[in-house]
């Protein structure tokens, strides 16, 4: 009991100490945290701390504006007014940045907030690279997982081998013994039968089992062969190497970018389209660092493709289009339209493309894209008619025309794509 109490007190003490510690640290860093928040809210869309972006890098702003502190506040709050004042430094700044980026917008921040931001900027240190450690840890854990199972496997194999050898040894000693006994008894030793003969005899002796097993083997081979043939030209799971290791999990998953932000032609065209590089640049003009060095290198590939000079923040005009490897290769005689399915049919992308936002693959084929797969969906999927004037009209004709006919359609309560002709050849083949 005494021990327990002592332990409880100790815990309480350490808790209190931790709270104190956290509280104290928190009080000391309050303004820097505000500064970070304010920086992200107001500045980060155009400025980086240690790199030029749309505007100049902010690190060292105070030094550069030394002697013009009041002007700096005014500049941030109302750049247009300061630009007209004719200050030399401001003029130099404008000459350099106006042609590229235009004049900065007025920022709704007060002096205290500006100070907080500048404090944050001044005290900011680039984060130490810790990617390597993560990577090592990850590989280690993978090794461990794999190690356990393979060790077990090795042990089992080893035991089995020992078993096989000892049984073999037993058998050969028995044979020898038999021979020796026969010799001793003076019996005639039967000549060894060839293996083929033995096998024949064995098969004949066990013909019932053999034929049953044979039937299984034949059926298995037929099924496997059929599957293999049906799989010709079906590339489910096809994930070829791509020139850029784009991460769908990061973009669509963690960052929640909508699929059609990049694949925007899915809303109006038969092609969902591989996004053109200028769409990448909508964000990556600003986001030039990945979460790891590899990520940053991949972003650099975008810049190389689109001809973006990161230092000068401008396009060089040298374009090297990215050569992606096409993943979904529908045969030429089949017509598929994304807009029809995504917009009109209101089918989620994931139904055919899988949970891309959870997979780290640049692109992979999820659906088999076989005709059976297509028409199965056409058979099961209800047509999204509500609120679509087109269907109101076409369906209205049916309602006006023949109630009996209509009943046929509504037998199961839904009108599926098949019932509106979704199984007809010319819907996809022309």
């Amino acid at each position: 009991m005494g021990l327990q109490l002592k332990q409880f007190l100790l815990t309480l003490k350490s808790l209190a100490f931790t709270a104190l510690l956290i509280g104290g640290l928190g009080a000391g860093e309050a303004s820097a945290q505000d500064g970070e928040k304010l920086f992200k809210q107001n500045c980060s869309s155009c400025h980086k701390i240690n790199q030029n972006m749309t505007g100049p890098a902010l690190k060292g702003t105070r030094e550069r504006w030394e002697g013009r502190e009041e002007l700096l506040y005014q500049w941030i709050q109302n750049p247009a007014a300061v630009a007209d004042m004719g200050d030399n430094y401001v003029k130099a700044l404008l000459d350099e940045w106006m042609p590229r980026s235009g004049l900065m917008n007025a920022q709704a921040v007060n002096k205290e907030e500006i100070d907080a931001i500048l404090d944050y900027v001044d005290n900011w240190e680039p984060p130490a690279p810790k990617v390597a450690d993560d990577a090592v840890a990850e590989t280690a854990s993978v090794d461990q997982d794999g190690g356990i199972s393979s060790t077990w496997l090795l042990i089992v194999v080893f035991i089995l081998l020992i078993l096989v050898f000892s049984l073999w040894g037993v058998r050969s000693s028995l044979n020898k013994l038999q021979k020796a006994m026969a010799e001793a008894e003076g019996r005639e030793i039967r000549p060894e039968m060839p293996f083929g003969e033995k096998a024949k005899i064995w098969l004949w002796d066990n013909k019932v089992y053999v034929s049953i097993a044979g039937i299984f083997v034949v059926v298995y081979l037929a099924v496997a062969g059929y599957d293999a043939l049906m799989g010709v030209g079906v590339y489910t799971g096809y994930t070829p190497d791509q020139p850029i290791a784009f991460d769908h999990k990061l973009h669509a998953g963690e960052n929640g970018v909508a699929c059609v932000y990049c694949h925007h032609s899915a809303t109006k065209s038969k092609h969902a389209g591989i996004p053109s590089t200028n769409i990448c640049m909508n964000c990556h003009k600003g986001i030039n660092e990945g979460r790891s060095e590899e990520g940053t290198a991949e972003i650099q590939k975008i810049y190389a493709a689109v001809g973006w000079d990161q230092d000068r923040q401008e396009y060089t005009g040298e374009e090297n289009p990215i050569q992606w490897v096409k993943v979904h290769n529908l045969p030429d005689h089949a017509y598929f339209n994304h807009a029809q399915h995504y917009v009109v049919g209101q089918i989620e992308c994931q139904e055919c493309h899988g949970q891309m936002q959870e997979d780290y693959t640049v692109a992979g084929q999820y659906a088999p894209l076989t005709m059976g797969w297509c028409i199965n969906c056409h058979n099961e999927t209800a047509v999204q008619m509500d609120g679509n004037g087109y269907y109101d009209e076409v369906h209205g004709r049916l309602v006006d025309h023949n109630k009996e006919e209509l009943k046929k359609y509504l037998e199961d309560g839904t009108i599926t794509a098949r019932e509106l002709g979704g199984w007809e050849c010319s819907k996809c083949h022309y």
């Binding site: 065209s269 200028n278 374009e319 990215i322 050569q323 017509y335 004037g389 087109y390 002709g421 010319s426």
Partner: protein, 1059 residues
């Protein structure tokens, strides 16, 4: 113990015969070859492999193919780096532009996919319609034989080198600098000419323009009669009576794309009135087949016909007549036409096609007598096309030969081919120090010029046009230049020392005139954007300008001169005309046009001598032609010029005359004018003559055009025809000329019967005798059926078409549009000859026959004898009917029931679907189709080398014209009209995306869209307000071969003639 016995393989070894020694030496090859040597050894590669090798190859091949097939194909997909905002891959963009080549003019809408033009459709708001030649022009863009960069003396140079070299040569030109052009109707181009003139000296630079098909006489006649050299604007839509003397005004006469649009407006029997059209002509022309009354005349009699018309009308008005010999003219018809003209004076129109000033003066005189000026002939607006001047051209050729021309720049014309006296032109060209051509191909003229500066194709160019008063039009590029070409205007600007590019220059010109054109200078950018978007700007024209005082003396003098002309001598008269497909011959490279069956003769890929069947019979020429029946070849001689061409028996051709089309025989001196311009061998490759030269298709008859003192005359007298003693295979898509009394195919009536008669008289319902209740009763065919109804009426869509035979002119624009839209393969002459043409739609042309069942019975000819005579069309002046025929999308389709694999089925939207990937090629369906509209892919047209010369899909550039929404069919499958199902699906999707019903007319098939006369209406028969439903319910509506009981979704309307 050593064994020294010897064994022999046989007696041969024992005796050591020669054969044995040789064989034993070869038993093991002592000199093994390396792999390279083995492969390059021609003896090895030429020898056929033996059985073992064959099996090895086979085994290896099969294994390799299997392994290769198992691997996932790696296809690269390259998105835009910087996607243009307006382009969405998979969604077409349309750009308004304008086509003009000197003969054809029309506002077009260019359909582009991912920046590639793939289809040309009419910009109907522009007031012009399109013909087959303009529709097909998109294919010429991708031709791989176009020049890929500038040439100097036949060798490629860079533009900079050329500019430098040529600039100094032009500056140093000794003599005048002449810019020889076709008719230029572009205001900005003319402004460029002014800059050029200024740069090189106004006195030095001269401009000469000439037309291959000249209408110079009309300008000259107006100068004589009204004191102004001009061509007035004709309005066919206001004319209640139209009389045309040899003017093929729907094919090549003046602004024919506008004429057609206007003409057809009043050819509808359901309107308030229907115009009556008389045609006097020699050859049966496209316009002639549409005439209500047609008179066949000799070309030399055109003048006499006009004067006779004048006299008849003068009789009625009480004017003075000119005495003239009217022997041999269709006087009865002339009197009838004159009476109609007079009755409708002020609402009538007389046009003449000949390039003869006297005749045009008389035409003007008659129109003035009738008071047509100010009504059907505009006194306010004039046409600026056909500005060529024959006399100036003749003078230029003389000047060139005299050595007075220092530099000649040839733009938009090809005089070495089209100029009648091309030999004089060529010899003159040799005397010109600096010669420049802007041709896109290294053609007849370009190959003789020192500098060739290839111009852009029109789909790559900026331009503007001013074809008639008040109508401005723009052309804009729809694709980046494919080759290293430069627009001619840019070249001229550069050589004039201007920095500006033509597109900016043109915009500048327009900025100056924006105010005049109803725009605003301040809001110019808006105006410009809208003008480009629409493709044209029409402004109001001040009315009451007047045309000037009529000079009656000129009329009398001209009529007198015509009356005084001496009669044509013996021998044949030859008419030189342009064909619907080939025109002047500017697109010989275009296989779509070469394969387009001529609307009249239905012959493809060839030029021929058309002769009246009676004449042909007399000469002993072959009367029938087909797969195994070649045509006779005749030698046609005029003076020193002679050509050998196959002879066609053409009903309607005036006896004693023949006609030969211009525009053939391109590349006679092996010029690179395109692969499709040359004859091909039956199994691929170009046919070569004895000298190893490629042989052009047809013969060039431009040299037969006479250069009279009045200008170019497109007929000749005194021609001699003789049998060349050989035959020539020709490819025709229709060798059956008459209907043989099959009234269920085509129905026709006259206007009076239609207006006043009962529907049973002109559109009798078809009845079938059936047994019912023990007796035979006649039942309407739609009530007799073997099958249950298709549940298509009232449910969803039911696509259908209505075709008005009254307004179908047979122009075949729909055929090329279909070709272009549906990736229809081109198969070449040999295959067409075998009846394997692939056109999804064809236009059947039927002639009337003198014989019919009743007459045969009366005359006691017997059934066989009657039918035999019914097969023969009327020789001299048959009535002609054009009937577009494509898959009828039968609701009880005979093809569907016989397909063993259900590759052709019926959709719930009324379409007869053809599924290529299911088809196994039994061809039962084609055999069972009563309309014969199914086409079988006998070959792999896109790869088999038989078709390399003709099929665009075998050309890496021309393949870009293929419609990406339509499958390119493989060998061994059937295909046919799908009613443009890709457009139906596209239209439905568009409606669904917008959430709105499909408007009637929003979905159009390619043929309906291209139809210049709206004879084809397409739409949804379940839409109660649709035009197509009205068409189906019309009194004139009938179904082709209704008696077969196929219940088609395509109906026709009875043809009504205003006779």
């Amino acid at each position: 113990m050593a064994n020294n016995k010897q064994y022999w393989a046989g007696l041969e070894e024992l005796h050591e015969t020669q054969e044995f020694k040789k064989a034993s030496e070869n038993e093991f090859i002592s000199d093994p070859k390396s792999v390279d040597e083995f492969l390059t050894d021609s003896a090895t590669s030429d020898s056929s492999p033996d059985r073992r090798d064959f099996l090895k190859f086979l085994g290896f091949g099969v294994t390799a193919a299997t392994i290769a097939a198992c691997e996932t194909p790696v296809i690269k997909s390259i998105p835009y780096t910087n996607k243009p905002e307006t382009i969405t891959p998979g969604v077409p963009n349309y750009y308004a532009s304008t086509y003009y080549d000197g003969l054809d003019y029309g506002g077009v809408l260019v359909k582009t996919r991912e920046g590639r033009p793939i289809f040309i459709k009419p910009n109907k708001a522009s007031g012009q319609v399109l013909n087959a030649r303009i529709n097909a022009s998109v294919l010429s863009l991708y031709d791989s034989t176009r020049l890929r960069g500038p040439l100097q003396n036949g060798t490629p140079v860079s533009w900079d080198e050329l500019d430098q070299e040529l600039g100094s040569k032009l500056k140093a030109a000794n003599g005048s600098i002449v810019l020889l052009t076709g008719s230029v109707i572009s205001p900005s181009t003319k402004a460029v000419f002014r800059k050029f003139e200024k740069a090189y000296g106004t006195d030095k630079v001269k401009f000469v323009s000439y037309d291959a098909l000249s209408q110079n006489a009309i300008r000259k006649a107006n100068e004589r009669t009204f004191g102004k050299s001009m061509i007035p604007d004709y309005d066919f839509s206001k004319a209640k009576v139209i009389v045309s003397v040899a003017a093929d005004f729907m094919n090549d006469w003046l602004l024919h794309t506008q004429n057609t649009a206007q003409y057809i407006k009043t050819r509808r029997p359901d309107g308030d009135w229907m115009s009556r059209h008389y045609q006097f002509e020699t050859a049966l022309s496209l316009t002639g087949t549409n005439a209500d009354e047609r008179g066949a005349i000799k070309p030399s009699d055109e003048g006499r016909v006009l004067v006779a018309l004048h006299n008849e009308i003068a009789k009625m008005t009480g004017g003075a007549s000119v005495s003239i010999n009217t022997d041999g003219l269709p006087n009865e018809l002339i009197a009838k036409a004159a009476k109609d003209l007079y009755t409708n004076r002020g609402d009538s129109l007389l046009v003449a096609g000949c390039n003869d000033t006297d005749l045009q003066v008389v035409t003007n005189g008659i129109n003035r007598m009738l008071g047509n000026y100010g009504t059907t002939i505009s006194t306010d607006t004039e046409l600026f096309i056909k500005g060529g001047n024959d006399a100036e051209m003749k003078k230029l050729v003389d000047d060139m030969n005299a050595g007075n021309v220092g530099a000649l720049l040839v733009l938009g014309t090809n005089p070495a081919y089209t100029y009648p006296d091309s030999d004089a032109f060529k010899s003159g060209l040799e005397k010109v120090a600096t010669t420049v051509s802007f041709a896109s191909w290294n053609d007849e003229t370009a190959s003789l010029c020192g500098f060739v500066c290839p111009d852009h194709h029109y789909l790559e160019s900026w331009n503007d046009f001013y074809p008639k008063t008040g109508n401005y039009a723009l052309a804009q590029p729809t694709i980046s230049p494919l080759y290293d070409t430069r627009q001619a205007q840019d070249s001229l600007l550069k050589w004039s020392g201007e920095e500006e590019v033509y597109s900016d220059f043109m915009k500048g010109v327009w900025r100056n005139y924006a105010g005049e054109m109803g725009g605003d200078e301040i809001l110019f950018e808006d105006f410009w954007f809208n003008a480009l978007r629409r493709g044209f700007v029409n402004i109001d024209v001040p009315s009451g300008v007047g045309i000037g005082e009529f000079n009656s003396d000129a009329l009398g003098a001209a009529a007198g001169r015509i009356a005084g002309r001496k009669a044509a001598g013996d021998g044949f008269e030859v008419v030189l005309y342009t064909k619907v497909g080939i025109g002047e011959g500017t697109q010989p490279v275009n296989p779509w046009l070469q394969e387009l069956p001529d609307p009249i003769t239905k012959i493809t890929w060839d030029n021929y001598i058309a002769m009246n069947p009676a004449d042909a019979e007399q000469y002993g020429f072959k009367m029938h032609y087909g797969q195994e029946l070649p045509a006779s070849v005749a030698r046609l001689t005029i003076g020193a010029m002679s050509v050998e061409l196959p002879v066609i028996a053409q009903p309607g051709q005036k006896r004693g005359t023949v006609s030969v089309a211009l525009g053939y025989g391109r590349g006679g001196n092996q010029e690179e004018v395109g692969r499709a311009a040359f004859r091909t061998k039956p199994y691929g490759g170009h046919a070569l003559d004895d000298n190893g030269n490629k042989m052009p298709i047809g013969a060039n008859v431009y040299p037969m055009v006479a250069l009279g003192k009045d200008g170019m005359v497109y007929y000749a007298e005194g021609a001699n025809i003789e049998d060349a003693g050989r035959t020539f295979e020709i490819a025709s898509t229709q060798t059956q000329h008459t209907l043989m009394g099959r009234t269920s195919v085509v129905k026709e009536t006259d206007l009076n019967t239609y207006k006043n008669g009962d529907v049973k008289e002109y559109n009798p319902p078809y009845v079938l005798p059936v047994h019912e209740g023990g007796k035979v009763i006649n039942k309407p065919v739609q009530d007799v059926d073997l099958w249950a109804e298709h549940p298509v009426a009232g449910v969803g869509h039911r696509w259908g078409m209505s075709i008005d035979l009254s307004t179908c002119t047979g122009c075949s624009a729909c055929v090329t549009a279909c070709h272009s839209e549906n990736n229809v393969p081109v198969v070449g002459k040999d295959e067409v000859r075998r009846g394997r043409d692939m056109h999804w739609m064809r236009i059947d042309r039927y002639y009337s026959s003198d014989m019919n069942m009743e007459r045969g019975e009366e005359e006691g000819k017997g059934v066989i004898g009657t039918y035999r005579e019914m097969e023969v069309p009327q020789y001299d002046n048959p009535k002609t009917i054009h009937m577009p025929m494509m898959c009828q999308h039968c609701n009880h389709a005979p093809c569907e029931t016989v397909c063993p694999v259900a590759a052709t089925t019926h959709s719930n939207e009324g379409l007869n679907q053809m599924t290529y990937n299911r088809c196994i090629g039994t061809r039962y369906c084609a055999n069972n189709c009563p309309y014969k509209v199914r086409r079988f892919n006998w070959f792999n047209y896109k790869a088999y080398d038989k078709f390399t010369e003709v099929n665009p899909s075998q050309d890496e550039m021309a393949r870009m014209v293929l419609n990406p929404d339509v499958t390119v069919r493989a060998r061994g499958v059937m295909e046919k009209c799908s009613l443009c199902v890709q457009r139906i699906q596209g239209g439905k999707l568009e409606a669904k995306l917008k959430g709105k019903p499909i408007n009637d007319g929003a979905v159009q098939t390619a043929c309906a869209e291209a139809c210049p006369t709206n004879a084809i209406t397409f739409g949804d028969l379940n839409d109660t307000k649709s035009l197509v439903l009205q068409g189906h319910k019309d009194k004139r509506a009938y179904y082709a071969l209704e008696d077969v009981g196929t219940k088609p979704n395509i109906s026709y309307k009875v043809k009504v003639r205003n006779t």
